[in-house]
Symmetry: C2
Subunit: 367 residues, 2 copies
């Protein structure tokens, strides 16, 4: 994340502390069931120590933009989104067979190694998978616990609840579409963008903003028709800002997944290539590739043994298609669109500045 | 389940209808993300059509016993526990590599078969696993959504919330202990009983009763010290009833897992043996086995190719140790203890009768 992003830094430390307090208390509940749960509690704490805290930041500024006061309660409620995110990451890494997360072994790999090191019975793979499923489930459940124990008044929580519900159904639906797209071999740009809408744009930006606004009493609550907002203007502005920004955010992620510096991203170089991720960047590259470039892309995409030379070769092929330049243009256009949506929106000036700053921080980052 | 169990039948139809209404509404949310989500929605609906509805029944009678009135709102809140349970079952079947659930292929197997039948890209196994993780996650999240949309007053939900939270952390902790016990090769009766306490007795009986009582305003809310109750007598009676009954319930399950009739259990004959489940029944059998009996148990336990002849042989060996008779004695003793705990407890007479009836229904069943 770009250093000096005040709108994010301001929130991050407070979110970190709220998470530490919550997870410390949950550790007690786990250890009451048995001291054997310590490695699980440690693994959760280590995973939660990292992360950019983007979703809590958008939730917080969604609240402030709607006129909500700065207070510890909104930090607690916003921080709950990090628990959901951490749980989803554990499950995602398992589904993608990812080895690394936030510069550490992914959770399933940690417990696979623990099993293997100790020479335990049965399959180390299955043990790693089982523990990762359970720890992810725990974190997903803790989202609700932290949200409802945030200290916000009952009527605020009642207003926010349907937005949190919608956000979760959408993110898992988006992941399902992603899995299915991989399985059926959908390599279109449109297919990749549909996944980004649900899996990233709504989940990371639009819904956290809506959640903050709903908690502050400024709507939206999802209406019966399946997602439109009841009380128009602020929620609509958050959507008009959030959806293009979400796409720009994901495009930056796509570029970092192929070209990023491991020291910054916490993932090995070319990790998205190794995992065969079906990104918008790759869909654009494919749609523009010459026969020779397509051959290089097909050779390395999804190759678990991809090495430095292969990474260099596929990077050159992708760049050669013009896909990276096209993604950079799209990022610029979408960020401008997002920031323009803030003009004249019925929100506080402080929030407008913070959201403009967050738009840049979320898309100009190098990790 | 024993036919004619009025205390259960009374609730079951109403829980079924509440679940159908909720899942029908969620189907709309899923299909709004894409028609491709239809098979996922269908799979969830089919899984939720089955089940004994024990946890909702205990939650309902926990409420009634505390003086709560019969009303649709408590049925909705109680039914939410079935969503948690269905999600946990999907994940459990994945971890145990179970092929069958409620007489149908398990969810991961359904989607593995879908992938294979259509000749899709990549691994059918990985696709089945991914969909099972996501659908389980969705169901676990929907628990909170249905609970908070039950229509119960905000202060009732606020009182119930910590019990639901505790219940979920305990069940996933119990599953973790189970995985770990399998890995380290803990074959003791004490180890198996510790898993049963968290994974079954608290989760299936004690906490649902406590949840009903808390919703009705009769405590308990877990206190800061990690599990004791604030307002003593009713919650204490529910614990004194629930923990022994939970053990008896699981022992019946253990026996059915080896000796049950597939037409009644919805699982193949000897399924627990094939999966190498570390049950109390097997721990007792091992602790009493002669060298010859131990050899038979070791030969077949965890054998995925276990056939009819092998099933008959291991059944004879287990019966020969006296473990089945011992389990039946334990069931009788624990059910009596549970029913005795209802005497003089500060609850309505109707609830006392229903809980006594449920104790028998939950432990005398043949499927």
């Amino acid at each position: 994340m770009t250093p000096g992003s005040a709108a994010l830094g301001h929130i991050r430390d407070r979110v970190d502390r709220a998470l530490q307090a919550f997870v410390g208390q949950q550790r007690g509940v786990l250890l009451a069931a048995g001291d054997d749960l310590r490695p699980g509690a440690d693994s959760i704490a280590a995973l939660l120590a990292g992360g950019k805290r983007l979703r809590p930041a958008f939730c917080y500024w969604g609240w402030r933009g709607a006129g909500g006061p700065d207070c510890p309660e909104i930090i607690n409620a916003a921080a709950a989104l990090e628990l959901l995110h951490a749980g989803a990451l554990i499950h995602d890494d398992l589904m993608d067979a990812s080895d690394t997360r936030r510069g550490q072994p992914s959770v399933h790999r940690q417990f696979e190694a623990r099993h293997a090191d100790r020479g335990w019975h049965g399959s180390a793979d299955a043990f790693g998978m089982g523990v990762a499923i359970l720890l992810g489930d725990l974190l997903i459940c803790w989202t609700d616990e932290m949200f409802h124990a945030s200290g916000l008044p009952a009527d605020a929580l009642r207003r926010g609840r349907p937005v949190l519900d919608r956000m979760r159904t959408e993110v898992f639906a988006g992941q399902y579409l992603d899995l299915l797209g991989q399985a059926v071999g959908d390599e279109t740009v449109a297919g990749a963008l549909r996944v980004v809408e649900f899996k990233t744009a709504k989940y990371t930006i639009e819904r956290p903003l809506h959640l903050g606004a709903a908690l502050a009493g400024a709507g939206p609550e999802p209406a019966g028709d399946g997602g439109t907002v009841r009380d128009g203007s602020l929620a609509a502005a958050y959507t008009a800002y959030g959806l293009p920004l979400g796409i720009a955010f994901q495009l930056r992620d796509d570029i970092l997944g192929v070209f990023g510096d491991p020291a910054q991203t916490g993932k090995p170089a070319g990790d998205d290539v190794r995992e065969g991720k079906r990104t918008v960047l790759l869909a654009i590259a494919r749609s523009r590739a010459t026969a020779g470039q397509a051959k290089v892309i097909d050779r390395y995409l999804g190759d678990p043994l991809l090495d430095e030379a292969g990474t260099a070769e596929i990077r050159a092929a992708i760049t050669g298609t013009g896909a990276v330049a096209e993604c950079e243009r799209m990022i610029g256009r979408h960020v401008s669109e997002a920031i323009a949506a803030l003009d004249g929106a019925p929100m506080t000036g402080e929030a407008r500045e913070a959201l403009a700053e967050l738009a840049v921080a979320a898309t100009a980052r190098d990790g």
